[in-house]
């Protein structure tokens, strides 16, 4: 099989071929590295590429499989990870100058589990510094470019991971989300992004943006690939205080496209500022869900007017707490926009932070009542397609400063409340830029979210579109 064809395979297909020894791990890893090296000048999606180490691990995986020691669907598969996850012996920069040469001695929990599953980490992806941003332009290592149009942003903060998966540089990537850092880049780059319920995946050994909102999430081109990547990394870990006890993950085995009777709520009043092309694609997606058996109905949760500002204030205060020491000692080494954000966070008082947490509690209770009436809240992931790089950090058009029915509330509430959410492609605009829909479930209804996304993908082909740059 030609290397370019290998890169077009989904994880499920690649895994099947490797298990059957019809394709070797070395071939898969070399194909992904070749594509990475061809596109990196255009995308700037990576910070570190442990090429030789990846090739050696691929050879080892190949030998194990030949000897009959097949570990499962990630064995021998090239994957990428956001450069917020600590990797023993491989530098971990968090997109910062401060850690530009830091080489950890231990692995993060996600990396430990990926190694145990036999996955091969071929690259550490670019991001907004310490995950503080929504554009992936705030990196010490320069901005990530969107593969559908390199003059546009990939979204952040996990933009490098999204750009990599969209272009077939590995079928799977792991990122993190504090505000919208998995779902937004997934939407802008035309792929699937999933973040589970808070506590499902351990965050041990990954840098914190804001401890009460940080999640590990995944990127892939299909929902089935997301579940294949989720099963090996989900599970309790005592080293993460937020980790939850859970049964053995079996998200792939429980994928089910039967949607009969599933209730989908739409918060229409929050869609007024959404671009017409995005609303049109979203409305068409709702029709698909209705056709699959879902009951669609309108909802109003006015408490969500306060979601973006509550989330933003929480992030700001917590990230200032996390970065306090570095900020005092090396504030000039931060990306200027990030540095100013930390400075503002340091001026939030304890009583103000606690007031914000009361507001958060009120919003959580409103959502708890809402999920008695619906199984899923659906919306466009973002109010518009990927903005131009030249629009800068304001290009996303978010409003996190005012209580109102603006769409950014829909983007921010899932991470603030720890709800499972999936963004998946649901259309293209006239400039051939992807449009995403997000499905948000109740706490621990991760399987419901994944099943609905799976049902949608079973009835549509948006997820099969690829940016031209990938095959050029």
């Amino acid at each position: 099989m030609a290397p370019a064809d290998i890169c077009e395979l989904n994880l499920a297909e690649l895994s099947r071929l490797i298990a059957a020894r019809a394709l070797s791990s070395s071939e898969a890893v070399k194909a992904a590295l070749t594509r990475l090296e061809r596109l990196e000048d255009k995308l700037n999606a990576f910070i570190t590429i442990p090429r030789e180490r990846a090739l050696a691990e691929a050879k080892e995986a190949e030998n194990e499989i030949v000897r009959g020691h097949y570990r499962g669907p990630l064995h021998g598969i090239p994957v990428t990870i956001k450069d917020l996850f600590e990797t023993a012996g491989v530098r971990t920069t968090a997109g910062s100058k401060i850690l530009a040469e830091w080489v950890p001695e231990t692995d993060s929990a996600v990396v430990e589990r990926l190694h145990a599953a036999g996955a091969i980490i071929i690259g550490k992806t670019n991001l907004d510094e310490f995950g503080h941003g929504g554009t992936s332009t705030l990196s010490h290592f320069g901005p990530v470019h969107n593969p559908w149009n390199i003059d546009r942003i990939a979204g952040g903060s996990s933009g490098g991971s999204a750009a990599a998966v969209a272009t077939g540089i590995g079928p799977l990537s792991y990122g993190t989300e504090t505000g919208s850092s998995v779902r937004r880049p997934a939407s802008y780059c035309g792929i699937v992004g999933f973040k589970p319920t808070f506590g499902i995946i351990s965050r041990h050994g990954s840098f914190r943006g804001a401890w009460s909102q940080d999640h590990v999430g995944l990127f892939a081109r299909s929902v089935k690939d997301i579940t294949l990547g989720l099963d090996p990394v989900a599970g309790y870990d005592a080293r993460d205080p937020a980790s939850v006890h859970q049964e053995t993950p079996a998200y792939t085995a429980r994928l089910d496209a039967n949607m009969k009777g599933q209730r989908v709520g739409v918060l229409r009043r929050f869609l007024e500022g959404v671009k017409p092309e995005v609303r049109q694609a979203f409305d068409a997606a709702l029709q698909v869900l209705a056709g699959a058996g879902c009951e669609i109905g309108d909802l109003d949760v006015p408490e969500l007017n306060y979601a973006a500002m509550t989330s933003m204030m929480t992030s700001s205060a917590e990230s200032a707490g996390i970065n306090r020491r570095w900020f005092r000692e090396r504030h000039q080494d931060f990306v200027p926009h990030v540095s100013r954000g930390i400075a503002v966070g340091m001026t939030i008082t304890a009583s103000e932070y606690l007031t914000v947490q009361r507001a958060r509690h009120r919003i959580r209770e409103a959502l708890r009542a809402t999920y008695e009436k619906v199984d899923i809240i659906a919306s466009p992931t973002t109010g518009k397609v990927a903005p131009l790089l030249s629009d800068g950090v304001k290009g996303n058009g978010d409003d996190t400063r005012h209580a109102s029915y603006n769409h950014s509330n829909l983007l921010r509430f899932p991470s603030m409340l720890g709800l499972p959410g999936c963004s998946l492609p649901c259309g293209m605009n006239t400039e051939n830029l992807p449009i995403g829909m997000q499905l948000i479930g109740a706490w621990f209804a991760d399987q419901t979210v994944l099943n609905m996304a799976f049902a949608y993908q079973s009835a549509t082909d948006w997820h099969t579109r690829r940016p031209a740059i990938a095959s050029a």
Binding site: M313, R328, H331, A343, T355, R362
Partner: protein, 62 residues
């Protein structure tokens, strides 16, 4: 406390850090925004219980 004093007390939290005048100007604007946001959230959260932050060992029984 006068507004100017409140602002000065917040900026004092950053006194160990030397910031450019442009940075200070931008930070002041954001602080003023935050004060408005907190006031709105305070109103919004009236009557809501304070969040319990107590952490008890999960392996001990009373």
């Amino acid at each position: 406390m006068k507004n100017t004093d409140k602002l000065a007390s917040r900026l004092a939290l950053l006194e160990e850090v030397s910031l450019s005048p442009a940075d200070v100007e931008s930070i002041i604007k954001d602080i003023e925004d935050n004060e408005r946001v907190v006031a709105e959230l305070e109103e919004f959260s009236q009557g809501i219980p304070w969040v319990t932050m107590q952490l008890q060992p999960t392996d001990k029984k009373g």
